[in-house]
């Protein structure tokens, strides 16, 4: 009996430690980001840093304004949501309510595959196919632009949006729909007036998840957006918050203001993600009620 309890305690302890690893990592990253992100903001000045329109970290007189990055990240994400959400939403409704089993299985597999493609592959295809295509179609000198990034991001967030929305739509009790049909509503009316409103929290969560994915993506965006610190415009080369950190980190020397400013950018990005997570939690909690 005593031996058994000892064993139980050991197992408990091990599980506790494993659980604490995750918590520890989050804490470590948060504390580290705050500690290393604050000095540069102090030195540059919060207003100059957040609202400065020019970024020239290696110039003789360096400028550290990240407004172009913030706006690019916001516009890029908004654009991706604008394109990705309608496609994802209607696909989810179709798969969950209309499609027969065979079609659903095939499309679901395709979506899972899409979700599993590494972002560098998205970037590569974007660079070799999408960027030249934009150049040809819109007759601009170069296709690496905000538009290219938006299209790549829209495709990347599709699987998230479709899968989470589908789960929410699948969970709508069949009685609701039966009742609606029995009252004489057509199937389409039922889907959009009964099923979708019943699943709206889950669908909102899907959108927020998509936002999180889009704002945090670096690799694919880096390969198609051109990475010049311009103010965002659809056919201009732009730099996102993520790519701003990724492009310069490798060469910035430790302890320099440039490197510290990169940490500050990461901190801003981190705050964005926290905000998005808080929103997500809000929607998920509401669904539970």
């Amino acid at each position: 009996m005593k031996k058994n309890r000892l064993f139980e305690n050991v197992v408990h302890g091990v599980f506790l430690i494993l659980g604490l690893i995750t918590v520890g990592c989050v804490l470590l990253i948060t504390v580290y980001l705050i500690i290393s992100g604050i000095p540069a903001i102090k030195e540059i000045g919060l207003v100059n840093f957040l609202f400065g329109k020019e970024w020239a970290s290696t110039a003789v007189e360096p400028k550290y304004g990240i407004l172009p990055f913030i706006l690019t990240s916001v516009y890029g994400t908004a654009g991706a949501i604008l394109i990705g959400v309608p496609i994802g939403f209607f696909t989810a409704v179709y798969l969950s309510k209309v499609a027969n089993k065979k079609v659903r299985a095939i499309i679901e597999n395709a979506i899972n595959l899409l979700a599993g493609i590494p972002s560098v592959v998205y970037g590569l295809v974007g660079m070799l196919v999408l960027v030249p295509a934009i150049r040809e179609i819109f007759n601009v000198p170069d296709g690496a632009s905000l538009l290219a990034a938006i299209i790549v991001l829209a495709i990347m967030i599709l699987p998230n949006i479709i899968k989470v929305s589908m789960t929410a739509l699948d969970a709508v009790p069949k009685e609701y729909e039966d009742a609606s049909l029995a009252l004489g509503a057509t199937p389409t009316e039922t889907f959009f007036k009964v099923s979708v409103p019943a699943a709206k929290s889950g669908i909102a969560a899907a959108v927020v998840l998509g936002v999180g994915r889009a704002i945090g993506e670096a690799m694919a965006v880096m390969m198609v957006a051109g990475n010049v610190a311009n103010m965002p415009s659809l056919f201009q080369s732009v730099r996102f918050l993520t790519t701003a950190v990724a492009t310069e980190m490798a060469y910035s020397s430790p302890g320099s203001l440039q490197r510290n400013a990169l940490f500050s950018i990461a901190l801003v990005l981190f705050l964005f993600i926290m905000l998005i997570n808080a929103t997500l939690n809000f929607f998920l909690k509401r669904e539970e009620k």
């Binding site: 970290s57 290696t58 000198p141 170069d142 690496a144 730099r239 492009t247 060469y251």
Partner: protein, 266 residues
């Protein structure tokens, strides 16, 4: 019980982490040019594999590296520019390790095949905006470069004297990306270290000189700069540092140097 186990585990983890930072006695300290990161890194690794002596590298910039040698803060300084007369007077000497040749590349469909350094500078600073201004096709010039801090960008901008003045359309993070982009856009111009240039792009002549290992070594191809090892004249290096210096200037190191994308000098 639970508490004891968790505390023990944490102690063990911390101990494991701490043992990672062992002391490296008698390491060869190098300090200087950020552009030499790759070549010194590769050489240091090979040297360590062979002799077990560690080589440390601090990326501080050519000027800071030269200063560090003067102040005895490192064994070998790394400079990606020639020593100034003043620095030589202070008792420093330079050994050329390699040449960093930068190829200027355009799309193969581009008719232009010869440019002068001044023209290239004008293109990159946005003074020349269309290929037709320099008797090419009527197409806007798409200026492709590398990210701030990149050694190739630093080299290119210091050779063409366009530091901080370049108006890039794209700043890409690897040589491969630059080549791919130039290969897929007929109006593009880019730069890349000579060793990585492929057939998918056209390396243009500078003032009529083709970029090659020979023209870089004899100095006739001008978009290049030396990688210099800076030491004090007449003062003996530490035994390990001398070994490292001998190793990297020997013929055996040439392969490593060319693999790092630069032209070996010796």
């Amino acid at each position: 019980m639970k508490k004891i186990i968790s505390i023990l585990t944490i102690v063990i983890i911390v101990l494991c982490a701490l043992t990672g930072c062992g002391a490296n006695k008698d390491a060869v300290a190098t300090d200087g040019s950020t552009s030499m990161n790759k070549v010194i890194g590769a050489l240091g690794e090979a040297f360590e594999n062979e002799t077990g002596i560690t080589v440390t590298y601090k990326a501080t910039g050519s000027g800071a590296g030269i200063q560090a040698v003067l102040e005895d803060r490192c064994d070998i300084g790394l400079s990606s520019r020639n020593l100034k007369d003043e620095e030589k007077k202070n008792g420093l000497e330079g050994t050329i390790l390699a040449y960093d040749g930068i190829a200027i590349i355009v799309n193969p469909s581009n008719q232009i095949s010869d440019l002068s350094v001044e023209m290239i500078a004008k293109i990159y600073t946005g003074e020349i905006k269309n290929w037709k201004e320099i008797s090419g096709n009527d197409a806007e010039i798409v200026v492709i470069g590398r990210e701030a801090g990149s050694g190739t960008r630093d080299g290119f901008e210091s050779i063409t004297d366009t530091k901080g003045k370049c108006k890039y359309r794209q700043e890409l993070t690897s040589t491969g990306d630059v080549i791919t982009t130039v290969a897929s856009n007929p109006g593009a111009i880019g730069y890349a270290s000579l060793a990585s240039v492929k057939d998918s792009v056209k390396a243009i002549k500078i003032d009529g000189v083709v970029a090659s290992e020979e023209t870089i070594r004899d100095g006739s191809y001008v978009v290049q700069r030396p990688f210099i090892l800076v030491t004090k004249k007449n003062i003996k290096l530490s035994e390990n540092a001398q070994k490292f210096l001998d190793f990297i200037t020997s013929e055996a190191a040439n392969k490593i140097i060319s693999d790092a994308g630069v032209v070996p000098a010796n």
